[in-house]
Symmetry: C2
Subunit: 425 residues, 2 copies
């Protein structure tokens, strides 16, 4: 650890505040993750990655930078990682799941701002995020109003901030706009990295990212088994790690874990007894260290068997066809691929409703928890139609609107306990 202090200092972190954050993270990780029973052996890799989240991985980034590679941070699954990898960039997710430096954040953002956005500001303003400090380019995107307008303010604190515009409807005109924007982003990446976006490299990058997503899909499919071979907490953790780990190493480790999960399934082994009610969680993304809902659910005698969220299946369901030969063709295929993502910012957004029902049946889930971050208008608005669609299919639902604070944990626990009781009946 002592090796890293100089590194953190060099990145401009507030060492005291950072120590406090790491201490909180370590304690939370121990009590929430390491206390779980029947964890697969393959989780050791991910435990190690988490233990080095601000250490070894940051050192890797800095070593790569020393070799001339660039680090590109992003806040959303609409930022095409493939383009970043194709110019030898390193892609890291910057969304954060914890309140930090709230008094500084409240000076620049309205109180009615969702925790996810506030947290991104808090980690930057509080100087505790080595990822954002290591970035050569930070990429935002016009998804929701909150992020779109917050980026205008964040630019004061992150001069390298670049924003990708997005359409609001999946029309032909919307697709054209997105294609224009992905092409503009490719030019920006060429400028920042000083490397040309070449077809061969982009082809390889698409294959790499497809490999990562295929491994995540493989894990998701294995959760259909009863008993579930992996906890919802661990599955979420793996999705969270997918945003910042080296993609090839990550894919290898995840496939090794999936081999183990397959063996478990064949042996009828699971993390919890098969009588545990099975739950799908649908809604807003959960970034590290936002483990609040799964920690509550899985300590109430239920198991989560799917996350319909951006940190989860919404960002990995679709692979990019590997049929493009020219850069332009491949960008076109990436646009098609990313425009599938059924984030609630799109109107209408019917495929999300279909998919929630689909995985509920496919994973043999007994019920669905709709999770929305307070003040996230797109997901809070879409919760009504999602829940109505599930209820019309006689699927029990529970709606939780919350933030990153721990104040409502007791209240949520009571509601989850009652819901789990209902599913058991």
């Amino acid at each position: 650890m002592s090796d890293y202090r100089a590194m953190w200092k060099g990145l401009g972190l507030d060492l005291e505040a950072h120590d406090a954050l790491l201490s909180y993270l370590g304690d939370a990780y121990t009590s929430i993750f390491l206390s779980q029973r029947n964890r697969p052996e393959g989780m050791k890799y991910f435990d190690f990655v988490m233990s080095e989240v601000h250490g070894l991985r940051i050192k890797e980034l800095l070593d790569a930078k020393a070799e001339g590679r660039k680090v590109v941070g992003s806040y959303c699954t609409f930022v095409p990682e493939e383009l970043i990898l194709a110019v030898d960039g390193i892609s890291v997710g910057l969304c954060t799941g914890g309140d930090f430096a709230t008094e500084l954040v409240d000076q620049v953002l309205p109180r009615n701002t969702c925790s996810l956005i506030k947290s991104a500001f808090g980690f930057k303003l509080g100087k505790v995020c080595p990822y954002v400090e290591a970035c050569d380019l930070v990429v935002g995107e016009n998804t929701c109003d909150g992020k779109k307008k917050a980026y205008e303010i964040l630019r004061q604190f992150i001069p390298s901030l670049y924003v990708i515009d997005l359409p609001q409807m999946k029309t032909e005109a919307g697709k054209q706009l997105m294609r224009t924007e992905y092409q503009r982003f490719a030019l920006k990446l060429e400028e920042v990295t000083g490397r040309k976006l070449e077809a061969k490299k982009l082809e390889a990058a698409i294959a790499t990212v497809n490999g990562k997503r295929a491994a995540l899909k493989r894990m998701a499919a294995l959760r259909s088994a009863s008993p579930a071979p992996i906890s919802g907490l661990d599955a979420l953790l793996i999705s969270q790690i997918s945003f910042y780990d080296d993609p090839v190493r990550f894919t290898g480790s995840l496939n090794a874990l999936c081999d183990e999960l397959e063996a478990r399934v064949q042996a009828g082994q699971g993390v919890f007894p098969s009588a545990h009610p099975r739950i799908v969680v649908s809604g807003c993304p959960m970034a590290v260290p936002n483990w609040k809902i799964p920690a509550i659910v899985e300590s109430c005698g239920a198991v989560i068997v799917g996350e319909e969220g951006c940190v989860g299946e919404r960002s990995t369901r679709w692979l990019t066809p590997e049929t493009g030969r020219t850069v332009e063709e491949m960008i076109g295929l990436l646009v098609e691929r990313y425009l599938n993502i059924d984030c609630a910012v799109f109107t209408p957004n019917p495929s999300r409703l279909d998919y929630v029902r689909e995985i509920t049946h496919g994973r043999r889930a007994d019920g669905v928890i709709h999770y929305a971050i307070q003040f996230c208008q797109p997901y809070q608005m879409e919760a009504g139609p999602v829940l109505a669609s599930l209820e019309s299919a006689s699927i029990p639902t529970l709606r939780i609107d919350t933030d990153y604070s721990q104040e409502d944990v007791g209240q949520i626990r009571t509601r989850v306990e009652a819901f789990v009781e209902r599913l058991r009946a």
Copy 2:
């Protein structure tokens, strides 16, 4: 009035609830508007229009419908009225400024929804809006997340709802998207009205709407005089009426009022003593009967001399060049014109900041009140940059975030009184 009851019943209104609304409106109008001193004579027309807002004007709409014309309602200034007029349609604004049927609204919308959206639902669900019931086509638009997602829900209650997509940035790709959408809207209007969009008719419609906006700009400019020749309340009322009155009759009446205001200015006459602090209000739209902020401000010894809002100068600042000859050319010019509108849903949105400073100087205002409806993320987020820009120009500011309830009137009054005192000092 008794004549109208059959009409309202025919439109499916809830007569009892509607009576309660009219009674509230009448009382509010009397106490807020008719109690004002030194009102121009020309306000009599607008008082009459308001007194017949659910009566004569609705009868006019129904008479026009009987002659085969169509009524098109909209919720936003991005819906191009010119296209509606060009197919002999009647354009009416449907935004509403009062809480209604809140218990029904809370069943379909999240609590964290702004009052404007809730009110649109409340007037529909509570069956008290003869305008929406008279519409052959209701047009929404993808501006903010709240409206975009709420339209998906509103469609259940308004089957004729049609939504215009909009870009989030004023780029070339954004303009292309908007052009595609305006062309699609033109086709929809042709389908609904059964009339062809002809160049001659569109030319005339552009001239009609330009005439209306020019008259509103004329009124706005006259408010630069000290003492102000018209109250902020009356000026706001006129802007509100501009959304549903017959445009030609409205323009004539407003120009007659402006003649009177010009004479007042020349004679040095005003509505308040010239010592009254002068205030610009910037922010969210104020739809009928949302008179809360100007009623408070102008009862605290200040006068409002400009509204930087969609019910106000943001929707009227730009005229459409009358140089187009073909329908396609004119639609292109309309796209250019409407894309000027500096609503906070756009990113970035620098011209709004410029304009607030500009009218503050031009109207010789002493300070600016930034008004945002609670949970309106775009304006609440943009409030920070707007206020910072004003303060850096040494312009005193007051930020008010509120809703349509009357619960915070006392608290707001206290803050406004202190602000007016500060401006007097």
